[in-house]
Assembly symmetry: C2
Homo-oligomer: 229 residues x 2
Amino acid sequence: MTAPAPAETISKIGVAVFPGFELLDTFGPLEALYGVSGAHKVDLYVVAATLDPVYSGTSNPMMNKAGSHFGVSVVPTHTHETVPDLDVLLVPGGIGVIEETAKPTVEFVKKTYPKLKYLITVCNGASIPAAAGVLDGKRATTNKAAWKAATSAGPNVNWVKTARYVVDGNCWTSAGVSAGIDVTLAWISKVYGEGLARMLANGMEYEWRDDPNWDPFAYMFGDGEFLNA
Amino acid sequence: MTAPAPAETISKIGVAVFPGFELLDTFGPLEALYGVSGAHKVDLYVVAATLDPVYSGTSNPMMNKAGSHFGVSVVPTHTHETVPDLDVLLVPGGIGVIEETAKPTVEFVKKTYPKLKYLITVCNGASIPAAAGVLDGKRATTNKAAWKAATSAGPNVNWVKTARYVVDGNCWTSAGVSAGIDVTLAWISKVYGEGLARMLANGMEYEWRDDPNWDPFAYMFGDGEFLNA
């Protein structure tokens, strides 16, 4: 099967990483986009405050009561200053979003958003563009288990509680963690056609939740104070 | 909710990485295990042939016809020689499995398997212990889109075609890519109890496929020569 030519050229995709970024938020979407990169020339830019490796783990007792050392360090390819203009920026969530060390990423999103074709967020990664003001007046969604905390960063955002993902303009925001795969497949479907998106989902042996309204987790977590219980 | 004390102590989990490792194979399972590490003291060891960063991308035209540069480099914490004895080893798949550069990982699995409590493989990662002889006489599964290639590494393995994951002794093997999340949640359920596994799946907003026989992809890909088409 040959994918249709995309309606627009996407050649530079960036992912913003910061200490305590969530692994599946980041690498679920990148898995799907890696599939795109096999058929269409597109390069990945791993962007952070500095070029030092960025560790996904945390010592924050909210996520790590046991004192474990459990994380992976990834190597940025560019800093917030050196990265070229991107077509797409992926912003994952994670415990690091609520740490002081996420501040430079908020500034980066504020600065780079006007030059992006698309912004994709996963989980409480939405708090970062929300804090940057980028989502003001837009519809967006985020993590359901930490709904109150994640939405508090954006008092002027029209948060949508029951949604696997939400598209408003060029902002594609998804629910928690694994929902990042679904929003990314939906984005691929929009830009490259459903055929490629479905082929990639099948190749990942992934049951793509292509209905943006599918969301048992909004109900499951109620008022979303699960993580503060 | 407090998880029951595990029936056995798991304190060291390793992940074997090699050039061209698959992102979701690796980080789906690690996302679930990161959840475990919040409640139980367990450390992660990122193991490779050397301490140089290991790149997930590939220039192999089977996966990259477009000449894209699309991958992430992760930093190993230990080499095959320096890693302490592990309780659990996770082996992801990826295009790198069929490259010459996967050979040291085969040797590492052969050497370390007798000391493991559990081996978990994802996708064509099963080809690595299969090539090491570790799966001989055991039931196992692997990627469905590349079934013929992935199973060819283990002529004495009892490959199970229609399976999301297979457990035989201490070997937990899963189908392609996203199936790694399901086998890992099943393993967590066995070791730590279903309560913790289900809590983690919900926190990941992931619809856990807890039935090892659920597998639409075996049918979808037929004889599994999809990737060679």
